[in-house]
């Protein structure tokens, strides 16, 4: 990660730092100060000694707080789950000397996209404010994740890790463009897709009235009559999600609300470590 201060995260940029990386032949234009004279003495050839430079991380959370995020399972809501993921990751990031920020919201009456907006910063005081804001998140209104992503892409000036936490229960067609916008800004994008198994299996057994959490009209349906078509629609939807994330090279994590969030995060963190990710593969 690139940053203006030294942090824990290994930078993709080779430069002068403490940890040796490799030798390479000198080419005209290289900084002569970085010539390894000892090697020249032994081999009578010019080599440049390279070191891996550590840099700091800017992590921004885009949390969907639309009404559908208020979906409640037996012991938690989808937004609680999102809070847990965002809070934990923010804690780890800030304690690692990196910066973390928050952009959360849904479509509101006043036209504001973001319910909470906190640019990424480092330090313990900022962490306290960030965690407070995460705790205060409330679900409601229609989803506005797409405009939120576009707005965040414009607001975050430097390369950063963008962690999106959403149920993606909306029309997915414009999602590809939003991800491409983030990728164009050189952001590293992580997507936590939160779903409930009931939403996938649709295993209701008697007539049920479904109240739309985002304020739309309710629907009375006999699940036995529509179950098959519902599952087909879900299957198509998930396939579309897969296509989008593969195309945009998004670090995608599908999480079910009955799955401990620690496991989800562990899967994410292991995947982010190049060594562990390689061994996992």
């Amino acid at each position: 990660m690139l940053g203006s201060v030294s942090g824990r995260h290994r930078s993709p940029v080779k430069g002068s730092a403490l940890e040796f990386a490799q030798y390479r032949k000198y080419v005209p234009g290289d900084d002569t100060r970085r010539l390894d004279w000892r090697t020249w003495g032994r081999t009578d050839r010019y080599y440049i000694k390279e070191f891996e430079a550590d840099t700091n991380l800017r992590q921004c959370f885009i949390v969907d707080t639309s009404g559908s995020m208020g979906y409640e399972t037996t012991d938690t809501t989808r937004l609680d789950y999102a809070r847990s993921i965002a809070g934990t990751l923010a804690y780890l990031t800030v304690h690692g000397g990196d910066a973390a920020g928050l952009y959360a919201g849904a479509k509101s009456e006043d036209g504001n996209i973001f319910q909470q907006e906190l640019p990424p910063k480092r330090g313990g005081i900022h962490l306290g404010v960030l965690l407070d804001q995460i705790a205060q998140l409330k679900s409601g209104g229609e989803t506005a994740l797409i405009p939120a992503i576009h707005a965040a892409a414009e607001k975050i000036p430097q390369r950063a890790m963008i962690v999106i936490i959403s149920d993606l229960l909306f029309d997915l067609d414009p999602l590809q463009e939003a991800f491409d916008h983030l990728r164009f800004r050189k952001h590293d994008v992580v997507l936590f897709h939160l779903l409930d198994r009931e939403e996938i299996d649709f295993s209701f057994d008697r007539p049920t009235r479904f109240l739309d959490l985002e304020g739309g009209p309710s629907l009375l349906a006999d699940p036995s009559l529509i179950q098959r078509k519902y599952r087909e629609a879900v299957s198509d939807y998930l396939a579309q999600v897969d296509r989008i994330v593969n195309h945009s090279v998004i670090d995608y994590h599908r999480a079910f609300l009955d799955e401990p969030y620690e496991q989800v995060l562990a899967r994410f963190l292991i995947g982010r470590n190049p060594k562990t990710a390689r061994s996992a593969r």
């Binding site: 009404g67 559908s68 995020m69 208020g70 979906y71 409640e72 989808r78 149920d167 229960l169 909306f170 029309d171 779903l195 409930d196 198994r197 939403e199 996938i200 299996d201 649709f202 209701f204 008697r206 007539p207 049920t208 009235r209 479904f210 109240l211 739309d212 959490l213 985002e214 739309g216 629907l219 009375l220 349906a221 006999d222 036995s224 009559l225 529509i226 179950q227 098959r228 078509k229 519902y230 599952r231 087909e232 629609a233 879900v234 299957s235 939807y237 998930l238 396939a239 897969d242 599908r254 079910f256």
Partner: protein, 681 residues
């Protein structure tokens, strides 16, 4: 449709239970907060039409199943499949064909077509027509008989066996008349017949009137109940041309005997024929090969004293008991008296010459010419044939009444064209214009060879009618059966249709050389006169032959004694309807015998073709119920099984429709699509 347990129909509203339960279930739904509405809306949109249709079908089938259950429990009755489409009529008219052919029976059970009709209709009406007005019209009497109790139908004398012929158009006309006079409301007419051609008279002009009468009545439904021919072997016997002759050996009875066989087997059969003459019984074995045995001039010796009397010929019991007996009577030959009423001497003389020429030895032929001013001189009682060459008398005149009585008593009347204009009519007959040709005679196109005055001879040879020439003819109108027609479709000779036992003929020309060659080409003229004379002679004979019918004895008008009958015990109402021998006692002391036999047409086994039947009832609400004598089925049967099966089918269909959709391995496994799972692994 009728029900044995109609009280259970009160439960029919319970058929709404499935709908009520469905509505209650709809209101007992659970409510959940749901996020993934987009999938629900997609799924609902995709399944909307089919799922709704399926749901409506399932509900309908459930309602239908409950309805059918209650119908089945109410034990419905149906008159075959017919009653399924109609309710209970206000009036049921039973038109019963009581002709001799309806006595065709199954030998083992003794059940005839007529008795089967009566039994089955009584059963049907008892079960299904409670409260309806029941009326019986039988073909023998044509009198409407109200029936108070359908169960008693079979005990009525009006449904008993007869050896008459039936006239189905008349039977239907009687029904139409009844409907005209009685406000019968919605009416079912049950016509029970065996479809014999001779009874149906499919060529009769009456059918046109009947069709137009019945087709305009929307509340009338015609149900034809017919029985197909049985396979029982049947023999029928008839006797004709009975003469009593005197010879040196004694008195002999000569007759033409005809035995017909209706059987698939045409091999040689020995048949014992029982002859009973004046009470003396003898049996003769007769051998029949083929479909018919004809013995012309069969002779029985009567000894020296049997100058008059009666006799009967009996066959053993077979497939039809009504055609096993034939009666005969014999006495002195009647005088064949012909009276010619004419002022035209030439015509009268020609007629006298032909009528007086003897045909049979031992028979006296007399003629008498009466001019128009001597009408009171006509010996009505002795006249067998009357030629009326005079204007038709006024309808209400005494002479008109006498002419009518002459024909009604079985004698023959021939109208000859008067020279002057004549506008009166009798028997529906009326003279019209004269036609004449100057040079060539009117060409003859056709004449009736099957029956009537110009029929072929017994040997099948045609009369030389084609040799006749007609120069001056007179047209006539009315309802008649043409006997001779010209190429221009003018009718020269016809038999007037009348409901009388005697015959009425119209000759459109005269036996004069300026009119026709009738007198000069004498053969046809002679045959015509003697055939007409023979028809009328029976009515003046002291040994008369008549056909069975309600008018058979009424026509005599005198007291009579039944000598013998084909029935076991003949009720008064059945006299004349069964073959019998009767002695009539006239106040003058001139007693005579009558032999009553079934009409020969009843031996004709031809049936009305199905296509002809359809055209006869064209435009009428008509249905045909065909039954077999040995079917054992009832016209009214409980049809609860039908409803039970229909209910089972409805429930089966409901179960199939209610089956959950085919369980497929979902594309989503533990929440992950298969593709995702494979990617993860």
């Amino acid at each position: 449709m009728s029900f044995l347990q109609p009280i259970l129909l009160i439960g029919l509203p319970l058929a709404l239970l499935p709908i009520i339960i469905h509505l209650i279930n709809q209101h007992r739904h659970r409510t959940v907060q749901w996020a993934a509405m987009m999938f629900l809306l997609d799924a609902k949109k995709l399944t909307k039409g089919i799922a709704r249709l399926r749901q409506i079908l399932i509900l309908s089938l459930r309602v239908l199943a409950v309805l059918l259950l209650f119908f089945a429990a109410s034990r419905p009755l149906a008159g075959g499949w017919l009653a399924l489409t109609g309710g209970k009529p206000d009036t049921v008219l039973i038109l019963l064909d009581r002709s001799a052919s309806m006595e065709q029976q199954i030998l083992e059970t003794g059940e005839s077509k007529r008795s089967a009709v009566v039994t089955k209709l009584a059963d049907l009406l008892e079960k299904t027509a409670g409260g309806s007005n029941l009326v019986l019209i039988d073909s023998a009497t044509l009198e409407p008989t109200p029936i108070t109790d359908a169960a008693a139908l079979s005990k009525l004398p009006q449904v008993a066996a007869t050896a008459t012929s039936a006239n189905v158009p008349n039977l239907l006309q009687r029904a139409v008349d009844y409907l005209e006079t009685d406000e019968s409301g919605r009416t079912d007419i049950w016509l029970a017949s065996d479809l014999r051609q001779s009874d149906w008279e499919t060529g009769s002009g009456k059918w046109q009137t009947l069709r137009s009468d019945l087709s305009t009545r929307e509340t009338v439904r015609l149900l034809l109940l017919n029985y197909s021919e049985t396979e029982s072997e049947n023999f029928s016997i008839s006797v004709s041309n009975v003469k009593r002759l005197r010879s040196p050996e004694g008195i002999q009875l000569v007759m033409d005997l005809r035995i017909r066989r209706q059987s698939a087997n045409e091999g040689e059969v020995e048949l014992p024929v029982e002859f009973t003459i004046n009470g003396t019984r003898t049996i003769q074995e007769m051998t029949i090969t083929g479909p018919e045995l004809v013995r012309l001039g069969h002779t029985i010796s009567l000894g020296q004293n049997n100058l008059n009397g009666w006799g009967r010929l009996d066959l053993p019991a077979d497939g039809n008991l009504a055609d096993n007996t034939a009666f005969l009577v014999f006495d002195d030959e009647a005088i064949r008296k012909t009276v010619i009423v004419s002022d035209d001497a030439i015509t009268a003389q020609a007629l006298v010459a032909a009528a007086k020429a003897p045909v049979e030895a031992g028979v006296t032929y007399e003629t008498e010419i009466v001019t128009l001013d001597q009408l009171t001189r006509i010996p009505w009682d002795e006249t067998a044939l009357l030629f009326w060459h005079a204007p038709i008398p006024a309808k209400d005149s005494p002479i008109s009444a006498l002419l009518r009585q002459h024909v009604e008593s079985g004698r023959t009347l021939v109208f000859l064209p008067p020279p002057d204009a004549d506008s009166e009519s009798l028997f529906g007959f009326q003279w019209k214009e004269w036609n004449e040709t100057a040079n060539e005679p009117f060409p003859i196109e056709w004449w009736r060879t099957g029956s009537g005055l110009l029929a072929n001879t017994q040997s099948g040879e045609p009369l030389p009618v084609g040799d006749l020439s007609f120069f001056r003819t007179r047209d006539f109108g009315g309802e008649f059966q043409p006997l001779l027609r010209s190429e221009s479709s003018a009718i020269f000779i016809a038999k007037i249709t009348s409901e009388t036992s005697g015959s009425v003929y119209a000759w459109g020309t005269l036996p004069r050389t300026d009119h026709s060659s009738l007198a000069t080409e004498g053969v046809v003229f002679f045959v015509m006169i003697h055939r007409a004379l023979e028809e009328g002679a029976n009515a003046v004979a002291t040994a008369q032959f008549r056909e069975t019918g309600s008018e058979a004895l009424v026509a005599s008008g005198d007291a009579y004694t039944l000598i013998d009958s084909a029935g076991d015990s003949v009720m008064l109402s059945e006299e004349g309807l069964l073959p019998s021998a009767v002695k009539v006692e006239k106040p003058s002391g001139k007693d005579y015998f009558i032999a009553i036999n079934r009409p020969p047409s009843e031996d004709d086994t031809r049936l009305v073709a199905p296509e002809a039947l359809v055209s006869l009832f064209e435009g009428i609400d008509f249905r045909q119920v065909s039954d077999e004598l040995d079917s054992g089925s009832s016209l009214a049967s409980e049809v609860w099984r039908f409803f039970l099966i229909a209910m089972a089918l409805a429930l089966l269909a409901e179960a199939i429709l209610s089956l959950p959709p085919r369980i497929e391995e979902p594309d989503v496994v533990h929440g992950f699509p298969k593709t995702q799972k494979s990617q993860d692994s």
